[in-house]
Symmetry: C2
Subunit: 243 residues, 2 copies
């Protein structure tokens, strides 16, 4: 049976890939992905057939990968971060349906909650929610409700897709919702281009985050009630010191 690997490549640099993901790309004949992600790996895996589609063409990209695998080629579909978390694995399962050819193997990768958290310090030592602010596929009211629930539950919050050209106000609107429940001085952090050229980390309060200079390459972290700055890092304790 032919096989399709869905590979999470992590934040983008080679060192943050898993050994399993690296092996899958080495062994693949065809590497399929969004243009920007394929460019991140292209030089390291010479001699492959690379197939790309632009952003927002997810279904076409996945069908392409399924078709190539059905032709008997060994195919790796790459996703930035994890292959499941906001990745392409679910869409591939959906498009393949109840037919189980090609076989799909999901290879996990570091999602930005892990890699961005490590860059900023240790903001996710306790329970947390991951919420995307992209309303391309999700009604804004649903996002709003999830932000409210996460704040009411005192979960640390990681915001993916906090802002883009088409959504310049989403982060400000999200902060305004959170500020109904959380204090203005709640410690927050922003991780930019994690593991890639132009990586930076910045720290601020929730009220400062409202107007922060954040773009689509940022992942935003909002602390829980215990989160504090320690030696310049965003740190959420879990109570180990009190045992």
């Amino acid at each position: 049976m032919s096989k399709l690997f869905v590979v999470g490549i992590g934040p983008g640099n080679y060192e943050n890939m898993t050994i399993r993901a690296d092996n899958a790309l080495k062994n693949a004949q065809v590497i399929v992905g969004y243009t920007v992600y394929v460019d991140l790996v292209r030089e390291r895996y010479p001699g492959k057939e690379f197939l790309t589609t632009p952003m927002t063409r997810e279904a076409i990209r996945c069908q392409l990968a399924l078709d190539k695998a059905k032709e008997g080629r060994s195919v790796a579909m790459i996703c930035s971060g994890d292959s499941g978390i906001y990745g392409m694995a679910a869409l591939l399962y959906e498009l393949r349906g109840e037919n189980i050819d090609p076989e799909i193997e999901v290879i996990p990768g570091l999602t930005a909650a892990c890699s961005g958290g490590a860059l900023l310090g240790a903001p996710l030592t306790h329970d947390f929610a991951v919420i995307s602010l992209s309303d391309r596929l999700t009604p804004w009211e649903k996002i709003e409700k999830r932000l409210e629930c996460a704040a009411q539950g005192d979960l640390s919050i990681v915001l993916y897709n906090p802002r883009s050209k088409g959504r310049p106000d989403n982060l400000r609107m999200a902060c305004d919702i959170l500020l109904r429940y959380l204090p203005e001085d709640r410690p927050c952090g922003v991780a930019h281009s994690i593991g890639r050229e132009g990586e930076w980390a910045e720290y601020m309060t929730l009220s400062e985050l409202r107007t922060a200079d954040v773009d689509m390459f940022c992942t935003v972290f909002i602390g829980n009630a215990m989160t504090k700055m320690v030696a310049g890092k965003l740190v959420t304790p879990r109570g180990y010191r009190d045992v």
Copy 2:
């Protein structure tokens, strides 16, 4: 300045480690960790000094790592999964305080939300919450509130530490709370010993999860309102097909 690496080794097998984590362990002189995790890596990194402490001795273990690093040794403190998410990074920052010697570098690893999700299919394609059911360091009322909030926000939910000998009823109690908001037939999955000997995946409804045979090596996934079984896998769509 001396340096301490806090290394997330992922679920436990070598292939699911990142290249960066592997390099850090290769270069370290001393590897410190909870006995079970050190045993997972011991054979692969010969010639190191290994220091272990039992579970629940987190502060002692972290102080040991800090002290060794201050002596000028190159030290790697290992954590299963990610080094930040329920890991030791925050405690190391806390114990070090405002003094910045030794330098701490947090090396992320695959948390069970990523690795367990991949094993079960693609349950986390959309917003989700990660909640630990361990009430060793967290009052049960707080866990209960977080479960309620996550269910009300239609977040997919990942449960860490769903059950242990000391907490035989926590998963059943958690399901009872969730069942106040979620339907009995909500698709769920359990991932056991991900990437290790004895790995298995099982699928069930939320009402079946209530009495499922789950232990401390399990990670539990509860779908959101869109989650369904597709060809035997737990899949949460994100709406890409409707674009």
